[in-house]
């Protein structure tokens, strides 16, 4: 069991160092930052799919439903990553944003949210009204804060409407996932499933930070393929992969 944490730590540190020292190999980091996300996202889909297979094997139940939605959400994100890689590495598009890849990324949030919601709802009686209220207040406050922080740079950038909508949509959808995942963490904090929920929360938090920074850097024209922000997207997939593996081991 400890093995997965060690491997995860090595990969996380390795990825961070790889991006941090990209000045020494700019051509490589361009290819890597576009080619690696479909690989790690694909690995996360496979791990989630294996959990789905495990819970589905005997009979359909709430956990097979949850993992069906998680796997579907991750699969749509994987397609998004693959399309982005196709645009950049095959078609030579410098920054395919917004593109058809965004349609897959955005639609992936729906099943992922349903999966989290079904899981948390199953155990919702364990939550106090106070815990729910605080979580919702924090989520609302963060949403306002992020929207306000992005407002000036995004509007100043004079982007088209689709780009503006995307710039706000990703961080807000991430925060919707985070607020639900936080409730899960509260429910399972004292149990063995805490580890898995901590990793799910860490993954979504990586996505929150990555999407805010992506919206900011693209609006400011600072983003390029291989930017340090890309490592956060990779880490999010890594944490999802670990979370599903750990969940299968604990329950």
């Amino acid at each position: 069991m400890l093995g997965i944490y060690k491997v995860g730590l090595i990969i996380a540190v390795g990825l961070t160092l790889l991006y941090a020292f990209q000045g020494f190999y700019p051509d490589f980091i361009y290819v890597f930052s576009n080619a690696f996300p479909p690989v790690i996202a694909g690995a996360a889909v496979v791990t989630s799919g294996l959990s789905l297979e495990r819970y589905w094997r005997r009979a359909k139940g709430p956990f097979s439903t949850v993992w069906f939605y998680f796997t579907l959400g991750l699969f749509l994100w994987f397609i998004g990553e693959a399309i982005w890689a196709g645009y950049t590495l095959i078609l030579g598009v410098e920054l395919p944003y917004p593109s058809i890849a965004d349609a897959f990324w955005i639609s992936g949030y729906i099943p992922f949210f349903i999966g989290l919601y079904v899981y948390v709802k199953l155990f919702s009686h364990a939550l106090t009204k106070k815990a729910v209220a605080i979580t919702m207040l924090v989520a609302a406050a963060l949403t306002i804060l992020v929207s306000v922080a992005l407002l000036t740079p995004v509007l100043k950038a004079e982007e088209d409407l689709t780009t503006i909508v995307m710039d706000f949509a990703y961080p807000i959808l991430d925060l919707a996932l985070l607020s639900t995942a936080l409730l899960g963490l509260i429910i399972f904090w004292k149990g063995k499933l805490r580890k898995s929920w901590l990793l799910i929360n860490a993954a979504i938090l990586m996505d929150v930070c990555a999407d805010i920074l992506f919206s900011y850097t693209t609006a400011k024209d600072l983003y390029y393929c291989g930017h340090m922000v890309d490592v956060l997207f990779d880490l999010a997939y890594l944490f999802f992969l670990m979370a599903f593996y750990v969940h299968t081991k604990e329950f």
Binding site: F63, A126, W189, K190, K192, F251
Partner: protein, 107 residues
């Protein structure tokens, strides 16, 4: 007489656990029984004789979420024994179970 009532409670509890755990789905229920056997050397047929271990196992895995499963089991048990389930503050699985035992002894 007491032994007979104890047996009735044990049988009803065994069924209630089996049905209550179904809220996790069949695969989820199997995982719990597997855990009870693996970590506590408790066979499926002996779970109702050791409710404390059952509760410990649930809490170890689900933390506060275990309360939801415990409640589902107790509701099933009360239903089987013909007791009206009323939620009580500061009542956990064992308290509800003791109440059911008292009901049977007095009845």
């Amino acid at each position: 007489m007491v032994t007979q009532k104890t047996e009735v409670l044990k049988k009803a509890l065994a069924e209630a656990i089996d049905e209550g755990l179904l809220m996790l789905g069949e695969s989820g229920r199997d995982v719990i029984y597997f855990r009870l056997k693996q970590s506590y050397a408790l066979k499926r047929e002996d779970v109702s004789s050791n409710p404390e271990i059952f509760v410990n196992c649930l809490r170890e895995i689900f933390g506060s979420g275990a309360g939801v499963i415990e409640r589902a089991v107790i509701k099933k048990l009360y239903d089987k024994l013909g007791i009206e389930f009323k939620e009580k503050k500061d009542f956990g699985f064992m308290e509800y179970l003791n109440e059911a035992r008292k009901f049977l002894e007095e009845g």
